[in-house]
Amino acid sequence: MNEQFGLFNYWVVITLMMTGFYILIARQNLVKKLIGLNIFQTSVFLLFITMGKVRGGTAPILDKSIEIYSNPLPHVLILTAIVVGLATTALGLAIVVRIDHVYETIEEEEIHDLERGIKR
């Protein structure tokens, strides 16, 4: 039981990852898909942050009174990944805005229908 509780963060990671992935696959709305993508990416951030944490550890400050400290590297790495995720979301939303302009819809099926209608 205690061991399962110790893995709590990892269970959250997996739940979030699968939730995001499901939204990504199952939803037709382009904005909802991006939200799914975001949840999916956030789960990975949590995975990295969790692996850097040391139980009872503090922030890594160079001081004699501090003996146990968390690994800062995964946290720094994930800052980069957050920036990348932000850029992806911004770009994705910008593309959705332009799709809305030219197709006047952001539903995947309606876009497919429009394209088929034009080909005929």
Partner: protein, 492 residues
Amino acid sequence: MIAEHPVIQVLIPLLGAPLCVLAARGVFAYWVALACSLASLFVATRLLTSVMATGPIVYELGGWAAPWGIEYRIGPLNSFVLLLVALLGALVMLAAKKSVDSEIPRERRHFFYAAMMLCQTGLLGITITGDAFNVFVFLEIAALSSYILIAMGHQRRALYASYQYLIMGTIGSTFILISIGLLYQMTGTLNMADLAARLPAVGDTRTVLISFAFFMVGVSLKMALFPLHMWLPNAYTYAPSAVSAFLAATATKVAVYVMIRFLFSIYGPAFAFEKIDVSQILGALALVGIVLMSAAAIFQTNVKRLLAYSSVAQIGYIVLGISFANVNGLTGGIVHLFNHGLMKGGLFLTVAAVVYRVGSSDLNAFRGLGRSMPITMFLFVLGGLGMIGVPLTVGFISKWYLILAAIETGHWLAVALVLLSSLLAVIYVWRVVEFAYFQPRDRSSDPVGEAPLSMLVPTAILVLATIVFGVSTEWTVGVARAAAVFLLGGHS
């Protein structure tokens, strides 16, 4: 001087991007981009000659020693891929001006060139770095800029194609990020050489197995390995022609390079090919992809889409070579990585020339072009012969090594399917030839002239290179064989 080359290689296009934006409207952005591309080609050439002469070059970023700092490590394999990216970057840029002027509105052109520079930065960065997390960062730089470039296509389908690529590409690179995270968790390092040294000790754990699974799926998405290729045909069809040429020749090839690098110099052949035996599934997917995608190419009515499907099939050849995991197979795979870049770049540039003159890449638009654009169509035919694998072209060389490797390992089915797919390639190249040479042009349509010299010359250089390297194979095969031996003989 050569000691600083690795970082200069990435810095040139990285600094070129903001310069393009600063140059703003007018023609300056183009000249900035062209100058940067040529400079980076020069640097890549010097790096390759230096690596072949004196062995791997190591560069420590900011003077921080390897396991702590980021290290650029250049061996025979990545200097070869660097040259491919820089060469295609420079030649496509040479040819791009007229094509971009006709396809991209004036007020967006400097952003277009800036995105082009960033894409080059990303691809060169992935290839040059020796740090696993750095690979992810450059992967995203290249990916984000290519979403922008594809969305700039003038048809509205380009936007939707770009969106689809964005979703698939982000899933792929996030999978790779998960895999890198799990590797870090087990080993506490991100440096590739260090990872390779520490992984065998923990190779039996489930975490490493799962990281391997995430990596393989992620990278297969990135390189459009069948059946994860769904994003590619739309993206290449609706992107601006110059972008199709650059991405088709380099982007998926760099992803293949990432797979080779992780398989052989991080996880190691002993883990990937003996313990898990990834060669079974890679080989099977590659063969199914080669045949199905070559067949799919036959039924396309748009030449860009036809070439895109053929690209997915050609990725299959490279992966097939990797899956043999012996010197001949890997040599064939690496040589094909380079050769296919040259051929596809050349073919897509001829299509760019047709789009520039006729305004469409539809098969019907090719009617009668054999007469009105003789040089362009002649170059297309030469490139097409390479795709088929006719002797004296580069396509023959790669297939020769692949078939040698297949016979060596007793995979007769692979031999048969590679030969079958060459026949399928004859059909899809022939379809274009038939429309260009044997179908008359509509009387009502406007007369069409030959492509401008600025587009013909770079295309001709690429296509003639496929013949030159098909006749004298010492150089390309020599470098590829050196890379294959290097990879199979353990990590650096």
